[in-house]
Amino acid sequence: MMKHFGWRFGTGLLCLIGLALAQASSDIRLDLKAFRVVSVQEQSRTVERLEPALDAKPGQIIQYQLTALNTFTSPLRQVALVIPIPPTTAYQAQSALPLRLGDTLVVPEFSFDGGKSYGRPPLKRKLKVVENGKEVEKEVEVKPEEYTHARWVIPQIEPQQTLTLTLRVVVR
């Protein structure tokens, strides 16, 4: 009986450790890669080529590619995958493509306030301007190069499912 009790306790402890591990590590493995987009003249055609972007010059284009893998054994819901736009770069409009998941089309959303709020383009910013001596609030469209974050909200990722997202930025 004593032996049994000890075994039970052992299992309980293992469970606790497992839980702690699950919290410490992650259920989603994220892998971010940066590529420099270069154009190559090949047999009188211009083709794009991606090279690892260890370095880049102002004006060059960097493509960020995020791979997300659900390493957990159960589906995960409401997964918001975020690729920030680094401050020294500018988002290239239309470069973040929607993600097709079966019948669902996940459209990217963008933030221009550091990731606090997100919306679909065109994003609007409220400005106070003086018109005819009166202060009025005006909505101004936020340019894509002012975006700070891009986000895809995926309703559910199945176990072992891999998703790949890309967007492009220009080095300022």
């Binding site: 009790f5 309980g12 994220l30 971010l32 420099r36 270069v38 918001a80 680094p86």
Partner: protein
């Protein structure tokens, strides 16, 4: 592999996108993606990716101004033949890294003459004049990246008009720049022209003090000076609004700068007047405007040197000086170029001399403010307070960081010692950890910084942490000083409330929740299960996480000695053990805040437990405790009552039988055993049989009585040996059998129990009495397994003792004691002792062949024979006798297979 023709290996550029300032070479572009999601347990979680870093490389780009072609030169100098001319250039680095620009000179072939003695000089103070200390020729300039002090340099190109040149001839000279870092990057459209003349020439050289960067709010002194370096005296021109003719030195106040007071000036000839224009020089007035006189593109200051005819002789000079103030709010890098003109008549035509251009820029002020959550940050010390938070939880503070300087800047954020647990700085999204400085942020721009602190589980007092922002370009300063490179904000929680608590309650209603309030629900009056020793009592209970955080609780029990408890999950909370019975647990598993989990405690009462009668709620005897694994000081205990029934059971064993002569005696033993869970007090009496024989009883085999009483027998298997002696009178017929019924009557706690045994005694003719007894031992040890060999395990040894006694009155002859080896046993040893006579003990395994030594082996089914040779013939015959009262005792040891 497909061959790729590297005709054009160029990075894709975005043509329409122009950025004010390029990212400096060597800057790390780091990026880290994040994910937030809801896991299978319904918990919101976040995770981050690896960090990728791209290093910004250098782009080489520069410009030399003023531009000009051979037909339209950028600047023109007029001088006497044989006199030197000086051209002023500005070389600016427009790339994102430090570069060296190599400077060379080119002569035109389509002009009248080449300038001689050409050289390049660095015009350190940018005053357009080759001052002493600037006379070392240079071939290159090294410039720091665009947007920094040292990104541009003033260069003077000197040359001499050949003495042979005649008036009106000209020569062109080009300053060509080549980037050292990228030799294909050049600027070669900077042609300038020198014209030979004999007419009057007024030069104009402008200087600014200080030159280059100026602190916003400070003052620049402009001085325009010159002389008549021509071959004849100069005359004046007519100026609208002014009287007479004169030489007009005119300067457009740079837009944004303000002239605080009237300019001053002097001249080597003529009459000096300070004049002003508010319409771009169309008309002038000697009347001073209201100071400060602010530059707007149309406002000018000037000096009018009036005189009639050719009044300004050769070598006469002039000086005109005024001050301007730079606005305090000038953005860093704001450029304030300024050029003066001199209008005069050289004797044949009106001429305009344009001075060199001075270029001051607003210097950078690097300062930072952090604090508050609005559109602008609070400079100086400030505190952001959260009134109440729970321990074990995370609190999040949003703080606004603002670049209060006038230039783009980056800022390092750091946290001071925290009394709010572990704190981390996150980017604006509140997810991604902040690595490295924030920025560059434009002047006035803000950035939302998120600080997240995990309050320790055991904390119950408020705390704070200081978030400090430090300018990368100006890392000195103090929090209390405004508009400097350091500022901080304090993030505080006033009250921290313990976030861990629980309530363990008896599940009295067969449902989750709905129990009475704590601590009344810690007992369960009216519920006390009664079990027999060895039985199980069940207590359904529920664990309610009344804290603010998910938690796991260990389950323990406090029980009477020897009792144990197991805890089973009760998934449906009905208070009844689930089917099939789940595996027992030692902890609750994770219970979310505000959630109840149900369990059943099974209390195992051990065999032999003493009777217990307790009242639930009054003198409970079992306790169950759930203890937080996060914070072991947080626990709750409930109590319950378990009754143990009284079990009364005694036995008297075994029944005995024997033979006796008449007259004669025989003695029997019985064992009185108390199997109750309480001590017994017993009395022993017998029926006395049917023939008036005498039956006597004893507890020690020596003190005999007709009955026994007050025999104390311990609980749970305590025993007492009872001796019975039968005395048969003379004259009993052979074969008569008498049975004595023996009764033990016991009182056990509040109840009684009885047990009986019997002795059956048969009268025999006075001859040989044979008795056999056995004892089993544990293995080959001397530890008794069973005194009657009722129990023996494989490997145990059993000692059989066979006693043959002549209980008659005459000799017996040829007495042979035989005993077969029992089945499933192995022979170990045999020995014989005799008393009451003398002789030699002989052994045999067939009853006919005798030996004085005992056999060492016996095969299965074989019989051992022993006898005593009393006549010394070494065999057994009817001459060997067993006298009255004599005994032969055979000890026969075997081992169970």
């Amino acid at each position: 592999m497909k061959r790729i023709y590297p005709i054009l290996l160029a990075a894709l550029m975005l043509p329409g996108l122009a950025f004010a300032q390029q990212t400096p070479a060597g800057t790390n572009i780091s990026n880290q993606a994040s994910a937030s999601y809801i896991d299978s347990a319904g918990q919101p979680r976040t995770t981050t990716s690896n960090q990728v870093i791209t290093v910004v490389q250098q782009v080489y780009s520069f410009s030399i101004t003023p531009d000009g072609s051979t037909t339209t030169p950028g600047q023109t100098r007029t001088a006497l033949a044989g006199a030197p001319v000086y051209f002023s250039y500005t070389v600016s680095n427009t790339g994102n890294g430090t570069d060296t620009i190599n400077l060379t000179l080119a002569q035109d072939t389509g002009d009248n003459f080449d300038l001689t003695g050409t050289a390049r000089y660095l015009d350190a103070n940018c005053n357009g004049t080759l001052d002493s200390g600037e006379t070392t020729p240079i071939t290159s300039v090294t410039l720091s990246r665009q947007g920094t002090p040292g990104a541009s340099a003033c260069v003077i190109v000197a040359g001499t008009i050949p003495a042979s040149a005649t008036s009106g001839q000209f020569g062109n000279l080009n300053l060509v720049g080549t980037s050292a870092g990228s030799p294909t990057t050049t600027d070669n459209n900077n042609w300038a022209r020198a014209i030979a003349t004999t007419a009057a020439i007024l030069t104009a050289t402008k200087s600014a003090s200080p030159s280059g960067p100026v602190t916003p709010g400070s003052t620049i002194t402009y001085t325009i000076s010159g002389a008549n370096t021509g071959g004849s005296a100069a005359s004046g021109v007519s100026v609208s609004g002014l009287t007479g003719t004169g030489i007009l030195i005119s300067d457009t106040i740079p837009t944004g700068l303000s002239v605080p007071a009237a300019p001053t000036g002097s001249a080597g000839a003529g009459t000096v007047q300070i004049v002003y224009s508010t319409n771009g020089g169309t008309t002038w007035s000697t009347t001073a405007p209201a100071f400060p006189f602010v530059g707007n593109g149309s406002n000018r200051v000037g000096m009018f040197i009036s005189g009639s005819g050719a009044f300004f002789p050769q070598t006469a000079s002039y000086t005109f000086s005024f001050q301007v103030t730079v606005p305090t709010n000038a953005p860093a890098g704001t450029s304030y170029p300024n050029t003066a003109t001199v209008q005069y008549n050289d004797g044949t035509a009106n001429q305009i001399t344009t001075s060199n251009t001075t270029n001051n820029t607003a210097a950078s002020r690097y300062s930072v403010a952090i604090g508050g959550t609005g559109a602008s940050a609070i400079d100086g010390a400030d505190t952001q307070t959260i009134a109440t938070a729970t321990s074990g939880s995370t609190v999040t503070f949003n703080s606004t960081l603002q670049n209060t300087g006038n230039a783009a800047d980056s800022f390092t954020l750091s946290l001071g010692t925290s009394t709010l647990g572990t704190c981390t700085i996150l980017q604006s999204d509140g997810v991604t950890p902040l690595s490295g400085p924030v920025g560059p942020l434009a002047a006035g721009a803000t950035y939302n910084v998120v600080v997240r602190c995990t309050i320790p589980a055991s904390q119950t007092t408020g705390g704070s942490v200081t978030l400090t922002a430090t300018s990368v370009n100006n890392p000195s300063g103090s929090v209390g000083t405004l508009l400097d490179g350091v500022d901080a904000t304090t993030l505080a929680v006033t009250n921290v409330v313990l976030g861990y608590s629980l309530d363990v309650a008896h599940n009295t209603n067969g449902a989750s929740g709905g129990e009475g309030s704590d601590p009344a629900n810690d007992t369960r009056p009216g519920y006390n299960p009664a079990v027999n020793p060895g039985g199980v009592a069940y207590f359904p209970f529920e664990v309610n996480n009344t804290g603010a955080n998910p938690d796991t609780y260990n389950l323990t029990a406090n029980l009477p000695a020897g009792w144990t408890a197991l805890f089973y999950p009760d998934t449906n909370c009905d208070g009844v053990m689930d089917t099939p019975t789940p595996a027992p647990v030692s902890s609750t598993g994770l219970i979310n805040a505000g959630t109840i989990a149900c369990f059943i405690a099974a209390v195992q009462v051990p065999n032999g437990a003493a009777p217990v009668d307790v009242t639930a709620g009054t003198n409970d005897n079992v306790q169950f405790t759930a203890t937080s694994t996060t914070l072991p000081s947080v626990s709750d205990t409930i109590a319950g009552a378990v009754d143990v029934n009284l079990v009364a059971q005694v036995s008297l064993t075994p029944n005995r039988s024997g033979t006796v002569t008449s007259p004669g005696t025989i003695q029997y033993t019985h064992t009185l055993t108390n199997s109750s869970n309480a001590p017994a007090t017993c009395s022993i009496s017998g029926s006395g049989g049917s023939f008036g024989w005498t039956y006597q009883y004893s507890l020690d085999g020596s003190t005999w009585a007709s009955s026994l009483s007050s025999i104390a027998v311990a609980a749970n298997g305590g025993s007492q040996v009872v001796y019975v002696r039968v005395l048969t009178p003379a004259g009993q017929p052979i074969g008569r059998t008498d049975i004595n019924a023996l009764t033990a009557s016991c009182t056990i706690a509040s109840t009684t129990a009885t047990a009986t045994a019997s002795e059956t005694t048969t009268v025999v003719g006075g001859d040989l009495r044979l008795t056999k007894s056995a004892v089993s031992y544990v293995g080959s040890s001397s530890t008794v397994r069973d005194a009657n060999a009722a129990v023996a395990l494989p490997g145990d040894q059993i000692l059989y003792t066979v006693v043959a006694q002549n209980i008659g009155t005459g000799n017996l002859t040829q007495v042979v004691v035989s005993d077969p080896l029992p089945s499933y046993t192995s022979f170990v040893s045999a020995s014989v002792s005799i008393s009451g006579f003398s002789g030699t003990v002989l052994y045999s395994t067939n009853g006919s062949t005798w030996s004085t030594t005992a056999p060492t082996t016996l095969s299965s089914g074989q019989t051992l024979y022993v006898a005593v040779d009393t006549n010394g013939d070494n065999t057994i015959t009817n001459a060997d006798i067993l006298p009255p009262g004599a005994t032969i005792t055979l000890s026969f040891r075997v081992q169970v297979q």
